[in-house]
Structures are given as structure tokens and as C-alpha cells.
């Protein structure tokens, strides 16, 4: 695999960021049929694996835009309005996960998958912490509300989705990469 700059934002990155955002938005809405128990204003979205995976595969900027824009478009289509601090939190999930991009040679190697799981955990924790803490500034919520009402439900739901689906996507992408020789 070619060595690429982590912060490069060329034509491929523009296109993959857009595709990641559109995928995140469409899959978030499309998997609404899943009626899983989760807390209050936090929805259970398997599609959260998309910005995490796009970050790992194409870099932190792509991961950020996929999460930020994808969440924005998804809320927009679902009729939830515009919540910039949660969009930024979703973007940060992809950005932090993307910090491991281009540092490995095989997507399906056990070490890469383990590293990806670690970055998924870091990404989700950072992203959801920033989004949740912003509720203190915007809504005046106290730290207990932020932790139990926002952070824990969103982080747990996203961790479950990310930890299970990101490795599946990475293994599938490895097959695509080796077949196409990219």
C-alpha cells in the first residue's frame, strides 16, 4: 500500500468524504427499522460505523466530513433540524479513528483490526464527550445529566455498533483492495 499523507485532501478524499457522508445519512435512516433499546434522544445507529471506517480507510479529514456532514444530512432528512455540536461530535469520531489511516499494510491483519478497535473506542469517546459536554454550554445541563443522559447512552450505542461493524467493513474492503490492486 502506498504511503500517503494523513492530512492530504485531494480529489479522492473529496469524493470519499461525500460518499461517506451520503452513506452515513442514508444508512442511518434506512436502518431505523431496528427497534433496539437505547436512551432518550440518542438513536441506535449501526451506520455510525461508516465515518469510523472511512476515517480508518481514507484518513482523518474524510472521517470528519463523513461524520459531520452525514449526521447533518441525516438529521435534515429525518426532520430533526440542525444540531451543530452533535454534528461536530460525529465528525470527531471519524477524525480520531482516522489518525490510524495509512499506518498499516493489510486491512484484515489481526494487528490492524485490534488497532482499529482501539481507535474506534478512542474516536467514539472523544466525539461523544465533546458533543455531550457542549450540552452544558448550550442547554445548561449539569455534569450528571451530561454523563448519564447524553454521554453514556450515545457512547455505548456507538461503541457496540463501531466495534462490531468496523472490522466487518475492513475485511470486506481488504477483499476489494486486493481484487482491484488499489
Amino acid at each position: 500500500m502506498e504511503k500517503r499523507s494523513l492530512w492530504k485532501f485531494g480529489t479522492r478524499e473529496v469524493v470519499y468524504a461525500a460518499i461517506g457522508a451520503a452513506l452515513y445519512a442514508v444508512l442511518s435512516i434506512a436502518t431505523n427499522f431496528l427497534q433496539l433499546p437505547s436512551a432518550g434522544n440518542v438513536s441506535f445507529r449501526p451506520a455510525v460505523a461508516i465515518p469510523l471506517f472511512f476515517g480508518i480507510a481514507f484518513g482523518p479529514i474524510v472521517g470528519f466530513i463523513a461524520g459531520f456532514l452525514g449526521n447533518m444530512i441525516s438529521d435534515l432528512i429525518s426532520g430533526y433540524g440542525f444540531w451543530v455540536w452533535w454534528d461536530i461530535g460525529n465528525g470527531l469520531m471519524g477524525l480520531v479513528a482516522g489518525l490510524m489511516a495509512f499506518s498499516f499494510t493489510s486491512f484484515k491483519a489481526r494487528s490492524t483490526l485490534l488497532k482499529a478497535e482501539l481507535y474506534v473506542i478512542l474516536g467514539v469517546l472523544v466525539g461523544m464527550a465533546v458533543a455531550s459536554i457542549s450540552e452544558m454550554w448550550v442547554s445548561g445541563a449539569d455534569i450528571q445529566t451530561v454523563i448519564y443522559g447524553n454521554f453514556l447512552p450515545s457512547a455505548i450505542a456507538n461503541l457496540v455498533n463501531g466495534l462490531i461493524l468496523v472490522p466487518i467493513l475492513m475485511i470486506a474492503y481488504d477483499a476489494v483492495v486486493s481484487r482491484s490492486g488499489r
Binding site: 427497534q35 433496539l36 467493513l169
Partner: protein
Amino acid sequence: MESFDPRARWIFSLLFLFTATLFWDARFLAVLFVLAFLWYFSANVPWSETRRAWSFVGFLLLIMIVVNTILTGGGAGGVVPEGGHQVWPNGIPIPFTDWVFHFGLTYERLWFALCQILRILGISAVFVIIPFSMDPRLYGVTFRGLGFPDKFAYSMELAFRYVPTIARDFGVTIDAQRARGYEVESSGGIFKQLLRTAPLIVPVTMNSILTGEDVANAMDLRCFGQGPRTWLTKLQYHWRDYVLIAFSILMWVTALVIVYWFDVGNFWVPQWLLNLAGG
């Protein structure tokens, strides 16, 4: 509202957010609340369209108020001072028993709940209305006009264009998987249901990535990113946009002066409420 330039509308919305988050004084929040809803109603969007968004806001508010005001007693984010005037100073006697339930709810926290309602509803009114009143095709050019890089703005525009394509691909994939015996119905535990989404998510994602490679090559061949981008839609400020921007800046600067120069606008409880509380 639609007659304003989208850039002016974004500037107003963001400066309104910064202004509202400076205050915990219900008098200032009430003024901002009225301003927010004047702005909201100027869009003439019917209730049926925004009902879902407001249900979401209502649920958020309920959680905030119930957890913040009713359940937790530690003061809200350091805004409400410790102590205060209790609503039930002698506790709540439980009928048919000798027990007394001591509940630390104070008038100050109830007033804070009102401030939260004014602030959250005001901010929500300004932001909820954006997607219902702004053409999604203008997002890219608007963000470029607000100073975002060309490539970020183009990503945004491209993402909106991809949504119908990916939605169609998802429909085709779900039909193809159904033909192979895939069941959409949700049953079983969390992990089982989550794993059941993989046969939908993986093919759609991989197919989109392969398509993206061709799109990127086509864009490279057309020298994408080699020079400043031009946009099909041109945005132009008119006098009313300048008025809106000037008003937004004035509102924010005035709020900064009020809060940081005059030290007014922090949490405040009216005297009549304290009198009612016996203090």
C-alpha cells in the same frame, strides 16, 4: 425568511446561538425567545412539517428538566447557587404511613428550569427551521461563501447529490438480499439484529467506494482542484442581508458588553418568587 441570502441567515443563526448562551437571566432570555420565534414564524413552515423536530426538542427538554431540576440536587452546571428556598421545606408526607419524603427541590431550580426552557426553545427555533426553509442545493455555495475551503464546500454539494443514488442502491441491495432469504423484520437480541444489518451495509458501502474511485478519476481528468472553483448558483448580498448581518453582530456585541462590562445577565430570580417562597 427565504428572501435573505443563506449566508446572512447562517451568520444570524450562529450569532444568535453565541448570544443566547451568554445569558441565564430570564428577562434577556425572554427577549431572545420572542426574537427567535418571530424569526421562526417568518419562514411560514407548517406545523405538520416541523412536528417531528419539535417532538425531539420536547423530549430533550423533558430529560433536561426532569433530570436537572427534579432528580439531581447539585445545582445546574454551577449556575444555580447551592441552598435556596425549598418548595417542600418539611418534606412530603406519604399517605397512610409515618414516612416523610425529603425532596430538595427549590424555587431557584424551578426558575432555572424556566430559563432552560426559554433558552433551549429559542435556540431550537432558530436552528430547527434551517433545513425546512433552505434549499439543500445552496449548502455548498453558501459554506464556500462563508469562507470554508472550496473542496469542503464541494464535498458537501457532492454528498447531497449522492443521497438519492445511495438510497436507490440500498433499495436494490435490500431486494437482492430478500431474494436470497434475508429477513428485514427486527427480532432477537441487540447483537443478532446488529449483525443482520451487515449484509445490507457492506455491499452498499463497497459498491459506493468502487463507484467513488471512478468519479475521482473522472474529476482528476477534468483538472478538479487545479484552480478556484466556480459555482452554478451565484449568491449576492442585498441591502436587507447587510441589515441582518449588522443586526446580528450588534446583538452579539451588545450581549458581550452587557455580560462582561456591566456584569448583568447571570442567573437571576425575581423578588416576587422569593417572597412567595417566604424569603
